[in-house]
Symmetry: C2
Subunit: 425 residues, 2 copies
């Protein structure tokens, strides 16, 4: 993130006033929007850090235009960011689209020069994180994301694909180093040492943070997960699958913002979602206006965590039990009479390892949101620092437990039993 990104010739930031004219030259956008460009309305709605986002409405429909900016928007031009992340985002969408159906937005056009993606506009969807903070429920979100990670993960793994196809894509995604560098630094390194990029609720968490940074076992566990983040190519992963990368309605769930995608451990995506659900759970007592107001919401969040893992496991196993065509665990090797049991036992071990990975990566994702650079609104929205610190402290305790003792958790119920009961509010 310290390198300067050269802005290529031909790149310009798109603008509200001229966007319709540009879109008018794209047949796929015209078909979607209908009518003449002069009738289209354009709003810039980006509230992220990295991009311009426009919503465009026409007589027949809408599109969303997402354009990469050459710097981290929240920091301004002093923090340059590669424009190439738009390339990796659409490359990820294209890779998983055949397997996940409508769980991602449809991509209508990618402009490599402007680093802009024209895609389905998701309305009336809201960002899941905002919904969780507001206390809203989305009946299927846990199950939907579990299904999503199972499908995207399985079909891009060596269980499903000849390795030649994987290696070809792996080589392309290996270029996504600027965004992977952010993950390496901000998730696996900075939170565990003193860095000017870190922040935490002071002075309330000073001792907790000092204890974490002196905890050799916790740091060793985080470092080992970080090593495997870079050294395993289990599947094409989204790379940033938190509740801010998911848009929902009461009945629909969509995954967005895959610009951190690369080939890594699938447990990283599982852990991102679980960890952010548990952060939301930790934040509820800080967000409620009267004691107990959010108790039922908290319980619902835990139900989603269970539904998430269960749906993931069941779908992944079901996909693997269908005749698979990958080079890992070749079907042809397991046709002798006793082989079915050996193979099923191997599948269970594979899922057990993914479960432990999920808890470990969830822990890393939770810790970095409490003591690292980028925090989450769930906790930041709690105005009173003492109250916020209590929520954050419970998140740190859960995360540290999972980081160092996840092998003791044999089931999702075991894992969630670590969460403090309500009296700890």
């Amino acid at each position: 993130m310290s390198t300067t990104t050269a802005v290529p010739a031909g790149y310009r930031a798109l603008e509200t006033g001229s966007l319709a004219h540009w879109l008018g030259g794209l047949p796929a956008a015209c078909e979607r929007l209908g009518g003449a460009p002069a009738r289209w309305t354009v709003r810039e709605v980006g509230d992220g850090n990295l991009n311009l986002v426009f919503l465009v409405d026409g007589p027949a429909g809408s599109v969303c235009v997402k354009q990469a900016l050459p710097y981290l928007r929240v920091a301004g031009p002093s923090w340059p960011m590669t424009l190439e992340r738009a390339y990796y985002e659409q490359l990820y969408y294209a890779a998983v689209a055949p397997h996940v159906g409508a769980a991602i937005p449809r991509v209508f056009h990618y402009d490599a020069e402007l680093h802009a993606i024209v895609m389905e506009s998701l309305t009336p969807h809201v960002i899941l994180r905002r919904g969780l903070i507001a206390g809203h429920r989305y009946a299927n979100v846990g199950r939907d994301i579990g299904e999503y990670v199972a499908r995207a993960g399985f079909f891009t793994s060596d269980l499903a694909e000849p390795f030649e196809r994987k290696f070809e894509r792996l080589a392309r995604f290996a270029g996504n180093t600027e965004l992977v560098r952010i993950s390496v630094d901000l998730i696996f390194t900075d939170p565990y040492l003193e860095s000017p990029r870190n922040r935490h609720t002071r002075p309330q968490l000073d001792r907790d943070v000092a204890a974490l940074r002196a905890d050799g076992a916790a740091k060793a566990a985080a470092a080992e997960l970080g090593r495997r983040f870079l050294g395993e190519t289990q599947a094409l992963i989204h790379g940033d699958l938190h509740s801010g990368s998911i848009m929902v309605t009461a009945t629909d769930t969509r995954v967005i913002d895959p610009e951190f995608a690369f080939y890594g451990p699938l447990g990283f995506d599982l852990g991102a979602f679980l960890g952010n659900l548990v952060l939301a759970w930790c934040a509820q007592p800080g967000l409620e206006r009267s004691p107990g107001e959010r108790d039922a919401h908290r319980d619902w969040i835990l139900d989603q965590a269970k539904a998430f893992w269960t749906a993931f496991r069941d779908r992944f196993l079901a996909l693997w039990r269908e005749p698979a065509h990958g080079d890992a665990w070749p079907v042809a090797m397991f046709r002798a009479p006793g082989d079915a049991a050996a193979l099923e036992s191997a599948r269970r071990r594979y899922l057990d390892a993914l479960f432990a990975d999920m808890l470990g990566y969830a822990a890393c994702k939770m810790i970095r949101r409490v003591v690292g650079f980028a925090h989450v609104a769930d906790l930041d929205d709690i105005a009173d620092p003492a109250r916020r610190a209590r929520c954050e402290r419970s998140a740190l305790a859960i995360a540290t437990h999972w980081l160092t003792r996840r092998q003791e958790c044999r089931s999702i119920d075991d894992a969630l039993a670590v969460l403090p009961d309500r009296s700890a509010r």
Copy 2:
């Protein structure tokens, strides 16, 4: 291996009669050879399956020219083979050269059009496998190869390098799919099922082979190692580090033929060398002319296996204990008072995992040489099938034990205690 390789324009097989003329146009070769091309002598000496190999002597010195053929030499044009393997071979040499010193041949020139490498001629070196079969000893070979794998592996791992450099090279080596495909099929798949490419000593081993192919636990262990072969990018590995890829004199050890190189589990290289030493050990009773003639040689081979692992472990740990600059296990995270112990404990776990990997991959490499497509001269040189089968059966027993029970082996002595005592001859 079923795809047809198009021979690119500009490619032609080099010939003894015109090689000196071609070399005469290469300043690096002229400097090494000295004098006029007309004075150089050229011999074609390739006995491998894949390449033409020429040795060229001049007044000042010698060079070796290795050129890829567009088919598997032993099978002829019916088994096409990518010429690109020469590219990966020189790419591997270039990547490890800064770290392993003179343990690989010096490369003077690479011709991308002819797919030919002009490199140091290794004389009076012999192929280690031939030396082991002949009953010769090379005092340092185990230690030297242990040092080699430690250096090449450590310095290309995430422990030593920023991941950006690794990802760049990983992307390039991800193109080496034709040779990786050979490993996937011939090491991790075919030996465990009926395939016309397989052969074994019939009828003596029929029951042993049938038992292996009905052994769900052994096959599951092999499949899991195969999955990790494709799904871990621990280090840049040689990919074919058996005793036929090592040239020796009484005092010098060189590693050659890295065309199978890619980013994979380091235990694969460790296992290739260990497995081939143990195959040589198994073959000795079949090669001796009188009972007990090779007993001391057998013991010496085991000593080399121990020296190999010990040298690897000690060098790898020593390199890791020096301030490292990789993104895995970042040094800056472990500066608190209690951290040294946590870090050292992690290093031990890392080495323990590599040890188990070594035994597992050694087992896979041994099994494929007894029941798969390509066998080893150590065993094939035993003319009497009953005698050969006894040696091969002991290799299968050791390998099956390591495959399924390697976690019980806590040390190299434990692992080698599995080898049957001499009375089993």
